[in-house]
Amino acid sequence: MFYREAGKLVGSFGKDRRMLPLLEDRWLAVLFVAFMYFVVTAIASDYMFTAILIPIMVLGVATLGLNIAVGYTGQLSLGTAGFMCFGAFSAFNLILRIDWMTIPLAFFLSGMIAGGVGIIFGLPSLRIKGFYLIVSTLAAQFFAEWVFNAYPWFLNYTSSGVVSLPMHHYRVFPGQENTPFNAAFWYSSQGRYLVTLTVTILLVLACKNLVRSNTGRNWMAVRDMDIAAKVIGIPVAKTKLMAFFISTFYCGVAGAMYCYCYIGNLDFMIFNLRRSFLVMFMVIVGGLGSILGSFLGAIFVYAWPILITRGSDFIFGGGAIDTAFIENNSKIVVGTIIIVLLIREPGGFAALWSSSKQKLRVWPFAQ
């Protein structure tokens, strides 16, 4: 590696507690964010925004949310898509029914509403663990699918069951109509990308802050040894419910972004059990209890099949081979890679990343 920790001394606890203790890392982070905001916004194609960048960030936020419950607090959950569904419907109804509602506020409130639902479905965690808890979180999934189907009010009585989200819903700040940044801009893929990027960055920073604070330590203490946690005074029940709240807050915001920023319409059918499994899969592949891993997992599970399909289109010429054939094969390839990865590195991509960093640290000397 070009830079290492060695010889870089910190002079205070505050500096030691930084999110990124190395100056080089901080510069890289700043450059990366600047690149995402200025360069990518300027040059990426519509396809890149809507089919790659936005879904990866949205799914990454959902994965991060699930990771807070599963990876950081050790509470298994398969209700992710259900919680996303609550977030999506909350955002839609808030924007639809309240004149002064803006997208950022609606996203925040939909996270809060999903979080409240999460607390309710997290209550069984006070009594049960592991597989049994999975079953009770499944209830959240089925409840969401049922309630938004049974009460058409939530869909504003749209008979088809799918509402496309109109341009005037994209109110990012009050008085937006009178500015050059009108609804048309935010409705465009650039606009949606910028909203997604900003929300994602804020949520990542908040999560990073949480896990290096007392809240995060309490989560991990409950995960690692709940009896010892209790004995040193950690309120175990409160810690679990708070983890569920924050976890489903993230899932709720991800659900709202899924509709508003990614697919542009509202439909409870997409938040099905399959999506819950998909997000769980991203958590495992990315690495339990890792923020970076959550996004690596989302990238890998979501984007690799696309890359392989596009790659083979490129090599064999589009249309030469049946697309369904390629798609199925890409799933097999990705599945195989994931199995090999998890056998070699059960910690997922996050562990792979940190062990390669460790190797680079001593390179070119013996390991």
Partner: protein, 261 residues
Amino acid sequence: MNSPDNKKSILVLKDISLSFKGVKAITDISFNVYEGEICSVIGPNGAGKSSMLNVINGVYIPQEGTISFDGKEFTKMKPHSAAVMGIGRTFQNIALFSGMSVLDNIMSGRNLMMKANFWEHALNIGRAEKEELEHRQAVEEIIEFLGLQSIRKTPVASLAYGLQKRVELGRALAAKPKMLLLDEPMAGMTMEEKLDMSCFIQEINRNYGTTIVLIEHDMGVVMDISDHVVVLDYGKKIGDGAPDEVMNNQDVIDAYLGVSH
């Protein structure tokens, strides 16, 4: 130091009985622990020593008896209120948070003193940062005291057994407890590690005035550092008093030599 008349009791156990589905682990045990002393609880395997500690800090609820700590009497102690009142604890089988670093494990020992809520934590505003740095200062003193400086950022799962025991002591100490319950803190250690550990225990007792209740099998250590020894056998108390007094007690000698009951 052990005479009941001139010392204030910090812990009074009265007629404690505990059974698991009919199997008696503790039968009718009463004893006092005096403020500022080192009290050793000894006895053969399965005598009920660990169960006794679990009763004291509320992990097990005894079927009978009362526990008074610091003048407050309980029939049901709760682990959380035990922690709030200042009872610290280490476990026989190390109960560290294995996925966390040494520093985070010890920091978690101070969770009761941290007041910031999760919004402050998420935004790193208000009390969050300030508290974190204040407590870090206190935790660093413990790290220095226990000689853990070089491994403060190491995940505890990768540490040697003796060091893990030391980290666990640090986590309990971080809460500034009035009383520390140590369940076999020296079991499975080398001679040198035992010596270090008994020095730490004595120093904690002397410097902070922390009352220590210690379970230990090594008689040499027990005789060396205890002010007061309680002997259990088959869930019953068979000895209670100054170390030399207890060692000359015929029941205790019988129990240790394995005379049949």
